[in-house]
């Protein structure tokens, strides 16, 4: 009887041990699995974020591209040298938008070259209807910014400001350091009115990119001040 009890106890003990080990094994497994899930999700999130950023990064506006090509064709009839120059500028813009698609930051100076190309090409469309000036603080030139973001602001100013005015207007670009942030300002002639047909894609794009890259520490605003439209971006210098 004692023996029987001993065997029973032994069996009971082994049973407990097995259950214990099973539970331990299971918890380790589950913890590992949960961790893997979490990592996977984080990875997925960052891939998603990257994908979003990539689609948000500016492609060249097709309307602008085809108008430029058409204008260059027309320009060839009167000024071959200038036409050749314009083709190079358009190529540089295309290359920029194709190659900077997987980059999240670029020196402001490099972005400015693109803006200059954009303005030069816009000037053969608008001719004397567009005047462009810039005030660039030297110490802002090497600050890293998201590519195509100034470009988008200037493009918006041309599209909604200048192209709607029969006698044209002006665009001014200002960059400056302000304490712990970089301030980019684009000021254009015209009124701030959201056209019903406008999808506001450009503006949404800028806001979303700033949010994805800097969270709440960057800001964007669009205001009308004394018959001018002022777009302002603040980016933290870290």
């Amino acid at each position: 009887m004692y023996k029987d009890f001993g065997i029973g106890l032994l069996l009971f003990n082994s049973f407990i041990t097995i259950i214990g080990w099973t539970i331990f094994y299971m918890s380790v497994k589950i913890a590992a699995k949960l961790n893997a899930n979490r990592l996977e999700r984080a990875e997925l999130n960052s891939t998603l974020k990257q994908a979003q950023l990539n689609t948000l990064k500016g492609q060249i506006n097709p309307h602008f591209m085809f108008n430029s090509l058409n204008n260059i064709r027309g320009l060839m009839l009167e000024d071959v040298e200038k036409s050749r120059d314009m083709l190079t500028k358009l190529s540089e813009m295309l290359r920029y938008s194709l190659t900077k698609n997987d980059v999240n930051a670029i020196a402001l100076e490099e972005e400015l070259e693109m803006v200059d190309n954009y303005i030069a090409l816009s000037k053969i469309q608008f001719e004397n209807r567009l005047s462009f000036t810039k005030e660039i603080q030297k110490d802002t030139l090497d600050i890293q910014i998201p590519p195509m973001i100034i470009q988008l602001l200037v493009e918006n100013a041309a599209k909604h400001g200048i192209s709607n005015l029969k006698s044209g207007g002006s665009i001014k670009l200002i960059t400056a350091r302000n304490g712990e942030s970089l301030v980019i300002k684009v000021v254009n002639t015209g009124k701030l009115m959201i056209a019903q047909s406008s999808t506001q894609l450009g503006l949404k794009n800028i806001k979303q990119r700033l949010r994805l890259l800097y969270g709440t520490s960057a800001s964007f605003s669009l205001k009308e001040e004394n018959e001018k439209v002022v777009a302002t971006i603040n980016i933290p210098l870290k």
């Binding site: 309307h63 085809f66 058409n70 204008n71 320009l75 009167e78 053969i124």
Partner: protein
């Protein structure tokens, strides 16, 4: 066939481009060019062209607005860089369009099509008359949809507040002009003011019956019934020699 043409386009270089393409077609006589809709409207009133090359995106008013301003729309070829949305908004009797930069072969095809349209449109009547003809076309934009309609295809017009509803081929968009404004321009030959609210095209009548008080009741081809006022009933009988 000789065609008088005008260009309305805000980019000077794009106008040069078009002129270069036109040079290859000696039957087209360019009678003027304008860089915005208001100047374009004046130019069209003055020159009465057969053919209009029209850009869509222009400052202040776009190409569609120019078409809306015109009582009689010339044969129109839109030129646009990239504007699928605007081009797609045509529901009826689509206008032709060319994508910039313009392919010379596509340009030649568009000119050929325009010539055919012009042959159909040409009537012996002189162009100096104030009234439209059955082949004149009007442009209607109601909300996001656009129509280019031959006057002769319209069955009737109806007052809606200060504006006018236009009935043709199962469609009935709103035209932002008053019925009186419309009436002034319509060819008297077959458009008839049935009452205060309606103008009918007599070619679209299927049945006329006497109604009470000396009035008439007319049934249109689409099944709509129109009551002719007493005063107009006398005129109608006279006109139709009933």
């Amino acid at each position: 066939m000789n065609m008088k043409a005008v260009i309305v386009e805000d980019s000077r270089l794009a106008r040069n481009e078009l002129k270069e393409l036109i040079k290859k077609h000696p039957q087209i006589e360019l009678v003027g060019e304008a860089e915005n809709v208001d100047d374009g409207y004046k130019l069209i009133q003055e020159t009465n062209p057969d053919l209009l090359f029209l850009d869509i995106n222009m400052p202040e008013k776009d190409g569609f607005e120019l078409l809306e301003m015109l009582d009689d729309v010339p044969i129109t070829i839109f030129t646009t860089a990239f504007d699928e949305y605007a081009i797609k908004s045509f529901e009826y009797n689509a206008l032709d369009y060319l994508l910039k930069p313009i392919n010379a072969k596509r340009f030649a095809q568009a000119i050929e099509k325009a010539e055919t349209k012009l042959e159909d449109k040409n009537e012996p009547a002189s162009n100096t008359q104030e009234r439209l003809t059955g082949n004149s076309q009007i442009f209607i934009k109601d909300g996001e949809k656009c129509w280019l309609v031959k006057i002769g295809d319209i069955s009737h017009f109806e007052i809606v507040g200060n504006y006018t509803r236009v009935f043709f081929e199962g469609e009935s968009p709103m035209l932002y002009k008053s019925l009186n404004q419309v009436e002034e321009k319509l060819p008297e030959k077959y458009f008839f003011r049935a009452n205060r609210q309606q103008i009918i095209n007599t070619n679209f009548i299927t049945n006329v019956v006497p109604w009470f008080n000396g009035k008439l009741k007319i049934t249109m081809t689409n099944g709509d019934e129109v009551e002719v006022s007493r005063r107009q009933s006398y005129l109608f009988k006279d006109k139709m020699s009933l």
